[in-house]
């Protein structure tokens, strides 16, 4: 994580796993508060941003798979780290398996990506 700060100090920006970048103009500021904020941002942006990379890539992978395999199920919403679908009951078992697999294989990290799937009659029940 300290690498992230020193990278920012050298290059002026930080990057995520998939090369998204964020510039931190205050990283070498003499003002303690501004610099401190930039330093914390240098640490958390690669994490938040990589999480964004992951969920975005999962959306593309899952949406493509649904089309390719002619499923009727549809991706409806993305909220934080969650994808919400509507699914006919005959596809439910398939979808649970497919979505879990694609989402957990989105990017190969040194730790496993774990996906919880739930279903219900409303979004509230699918929790």
């Amino acid at each position: 994580m300290d690498d992230s700060i020193s990278h920012a100090k050298d290059e002026g920006y930080v990057t995520t796993l998939l090369k998204r970048r964020r510039y931190l103009p205050d990283i070498n500021n003499r003002n303690f508060n501004l610099r401190g904020f930039a330093e914390r941002t240098a640490m958390n942006t690669p994490i938040q941003g990589t999480a964004a990379d992951i969920i975005k890539k999962a959306m593309v992978d899952v949406a493509n798979a649904l089309t390719e395999r002619n499923y009727e199920s549809r991706l409806l919403l993305q909220v934080h780290d969650e994808l919400i679908f509507e699914v006919p009951k005959n596809e439910l078992a398939d979808l649970e398996q497919l979505v879990t697999q694609l989402m957990s294989e989105t990017l190969a990290l040194d730790v496993e990506l774990v996906v919880d799937v739930e279903h219900g009659n409303t979004w509230y029940e699918a929790k």
């Binding site: 998939l18 090369k19 998204r20 970048r21 964020r22 401190g36 914390r40 941002t41 640490m43 958390n44 942006t45 994490i47 938040q48 941003g49 999480a51 964004a52 990379d53 992951i54 969920i55 975005k56 890539k57 959306m59 593309v60 949406a63 549809r74 991706l75 409806l76 919403l77 993305q78 909220v79 934080h80 780290d81 969650e82 994808l83 919400i84 679908f85 509507e86 699914v87 006919p88 009951k89 439910l92 979505v99 879990t100 990290l109 040194d110 730790v111 496993e112 990506l113 774990v114 996906v115 919880d116 799937v117 739930e118 279903h119 219900g120 009659n121 409303t122 979004w123 509230y124 929790k127």
Partner: protein, 726 residues
């Protein structure tokens, strides 16, 4: 004080070449070394403000050193042709920047730099040397400082006398002695076998220079080292010779000839444009001459305002504007259409365009490449009219966002302005903003839409080069661009809501508010308007005599943070906080959601913003899905209204578990954290064991809570102080 900047041309070009991906401009010419070199040069000019400057180049493969030692630099790999090709362009850049350069037959750039730095010092000038090669450190003196490029190239490590002492512990002039002993494999200087830099420095620190080290061979520790020092004595002295920079080489250039008085921006701008160095334009003065020149360029553009779509328009590639400036594009009229391609620039009235089967066929043809600005919006706008848009090859909005997400505006005009193009006004300037937005009269409207298409056409190659320079081509092409299609489909498809349930919730929340209102009035001992800070203030701070935390211009502050501080001071405060939360839920979500239900589909069609957040996360509007409160049970219940659009279908939710902590574990490579995940252990307990140095059984809930705060403190960027307070 006069200051001479000396740059080791070959070395910097070489570094730039290997530090950057192999870029090409739109004519297929390799430009990565030129770009990196120029970028560094602009930075040096701005930061150093030299009064004198020179770039030194090597003359050729053969130098006077080869006469001394045939194998000198013989292990060097051949310069890659992709780099050699760029050297003439680098010279062209130097010429346009009016920076002198020189090379001297049989001598290396190092010798030129050594010679001129010596002359400059004699003139009383300060000298700054830029190189990727540590050989030049031998020049360091009180007046001469040397910058060595680090990984990447615009960053350098500075060496002055103090830094030399700290790093090497020997005087700069003894650097060749060090090479004499240790050798230098990159230059094929042999030195003494099995003596490395560390041993060499130790010996030099102990005995002085190389001759003294060799003379004291019997006094060094270790019989093997003693033997080698004696056996390879001549080779060591010859190696030192090779490493010594000739500071009196025949450089036919006076210091006066190196005086620098800046460059002519317009010549440089032309060159930068030619090679696609748009991101370097910011270094150039943006004087009025240039802006006139740029807008004049677009005035030369002739637009053909046609009544019908013609075949000339429907080629590939083409820049396409489907004008739809209304914020909520799910309900919007389209204002116009423009196409710019190699055949010309065209506008057609939108009604005529959308009635044309040829145009619709072209839009749907994925082999016809299209450049757009906010392709998702156009896809959705056309989608509502059952027209498919495919073959989107480029999206200038997303490109600009990826290049720099921190910019507050990615309007086409601002994107182009930043790249020295003044070819179009912003939508806001032409149409007005928000409620004041107005469609201008026909000619002005057509002109603006046509200009947008022309600007887009010009921007695509520039943005494309920048994405390549940032190594973001993949991110753009395989993630963000396909994602915008996925998002467009989601937005168009919408989500069904149970309106009956929504109304029931509205009633429930209303009743909840009534009860809370009664409680609050009872606790206050009087009836008043809870929503009015003007009435609430005197109740809290005069009638109930609670301590005043903050005052405003108009009276007492009753803001949320003030109330939170008073939470345990009076029973009324928690009730007030709850009242506000419930009231917000009712207005934002119950009433808010009812408002955005589309009358044709009875669904909610949110709009994802793919070009907004600094972190790269998506955001959404109408409704803002990311913001539905889930802490409060009442808030969580809002999710009950989101239902499948077909009977007997179900909602499936797939949620990444602890994704940020997992990413943290991956990126930090923290073994304990990773182990916790591998073993399926509770991560916060594991951190607590580590931080408090206790066994698992000894971790208290307080310790775990603190550990959790530490973990999330890093993830969310909370300050150390904030962490501890939680």
């Amino acid at each position: 004080m006069e200051k001479l900047v000396l740059i080791d041309g070959n070395s910097i070009a070489y570094r730039a070449f290997f530090a950057l991906p192999l870029l090409t401009n739109d004519k297929g010419v390799y430009t990565n070394a030129v770009y990196g070199f120029t970028n560094m040069l602009m930075k040096i000019l701005e930061e150093q403000k030299p009064t004198h400057i020179l770039i030194a180049f090597d003359a050729g493969k053969t130098t006077f050193r080869h006469k001394q030692y045939e194998a000198y630099k013989s292990d060097r790999q051949k310069t890659p042709p992709e780099l050699s090709e760029q050297m003439p362009i680098i010279r062209e850049v130097l010429e346009s920047l009016s920076i002198p350069s020189v090379q001297v037959e049989l001598y290396e750039a190092d010798d030129i730099i050594g010679t001129l730095s010596k002359r400059a010092e004699e003139h009383g000038q300060d000298v700054r040397v830029f190189t990727g090669d540590k050989d030049l450190l031998q020049l360091v003196s009180e007046r001469t400082h040397v910058a060595i490029t680090k990984k990447g190239i615009t960053n350098v490590d500075w060496y002055d006398e103090a830094a030399m002492k700290e790093t090497y512990g020997i005087p700069a002039t003894h650097i060749p002695d060090m090479k004499g002993l240790a050798g230098d494999s990159s230059d094929n200087i042999p030195g003494i076998p099995k003596v490395g830099e560390k041993t060499a420095l130790k010996l030099l620190k102990e005995f002085g220079d190389i001759t003294e080290v060799l003379d004291h061979a019997d006094d060094v520790s270790g019989p093997k080292l003693q033997e080698r020092l004696k056996e390879f004595r001549d080779q060591a002295l010859m190696s030192r010779e090779l490493a010594v920079i000739d500071r009196d080489s025949p450089v036919d250039m006076s210091i006066e000839a190196l005086a620098y008085s800046g460059f002519d921006s317009s010549a440089v701008r032309k060159l930068f444009k030619e090679y696609g160095f748009n991101s370097l334009m910011k270094h150039l003065d943006n004087d009025d001459d240039n802006s006139e020149e740029a807008s004049a360029e677009l005035d030369d553009f002739t637009f053909q305002h046609e009544d019908e779509v013609t075949s000339q328009m429907l080629v590939s590639p083409a820049a396409l504007i489907i004008e739809d400036p209304v914020e909520n594009y799910h309900h919007a009229d389209l204002w116009g259409m423009a196409i710019v391609n190699e055949q010309g620039s065209f506008t057609v009235p939108i009604e005529a365009a959308l009635a044309s089967d040829d145009f619709k066929g072209w839009l749907a043809d994925s082999t016809k490449k299209k450049y757009l600005f906010d392709a998702k919006k156009s896809t959705v706008a056309l989608g509502w009219r059952d027209i498919a848009l495919q073959g989107v090859e480029f999206d200038a909005l997303i490109a600009s966002y990826l290049i720099d997400p921190s910019l507050s505006s990615h309007d086409l005009a601002d994107i182009s302005e930043r790249r020295g193009q003044h070819t179009v006004l912003t939508d806001e300037e032409v149409y007005g903003k928000g409620a004041k937005q107005k469609k201008p009269e026909k000619d002005a409207l057509l002109d603006h839409i046509a200009r947008k298409a022309a600007t887009l056409w010009k921007l695509v190659p520039m943005l494309s080069t920048e994405l390549e320079q940032n190594d973001q081509k993949d991110l753009f092409e395989t993630l963000e661009l396909p994602l915008s299609t996925v998002l467009a489909e989601m937005e168009l498809f919408g989500v069904s809501v149970d309106q009956e349930q929504l109304r029931v919730m509205g009633t429930e929340l209303e009743e909840r508010l009534t009860t809370l209102e009664k409680d609050i009035h009872t606790l206050a001992g009087t009836e008043f308007n809870i929503n009015s800070p003007k009435q609430l203030g005197p109740i809290l701070f005069e009638r109930l005599e609670l301590p005043v935390i903050k005052k405003t211009k108009t009276g007492y502050s009753t803001a949320a943070d003030v109330l939170e501080k008073l939470e345990d001071k009076h029973e009324i405060i928690p009730k007030l906080l709850l009242y506000r939360q419930v009231s917000k839920l009712k207005s934002t979500y119950v009433e808010g959601l009812l408002k955005v239900i589309h009358e044709d589909t009875n669904k909610i069609h949110t709009r994802f913003n793919q070009a907004l957040t600094q972190t790269g996360r998506l955001s959404s509007a109408d409704p803002n899905l990311q913001n539905i409160p889930i802490r409060l049970e009442e808030g969580r219940k809002i999710r009950k209204v989101f239902v499948p659009s077909k009977k007997d279908w179900v909602i499936l939710a797939a949620d990444y578990s602890q994704i940020e902590l997992r990413v943290l574990a991956h990126m930090s490579g923290d073994e304990k954290l990773m182990q916790a995940f591998h073993e399926g252990e509770d991560v916060h307990t594991k951190t607590a064991m580590d931080v408090f140095d206790v066994l698992k059984s000894e971790v208290t809930s307080e310790m775990r809570r603190n550990a959790k705060a530490v973990n999330f403190g890093i993830v969310y960027g909370i300050s150390d102080y904030g962490c501890l307070r939680t």
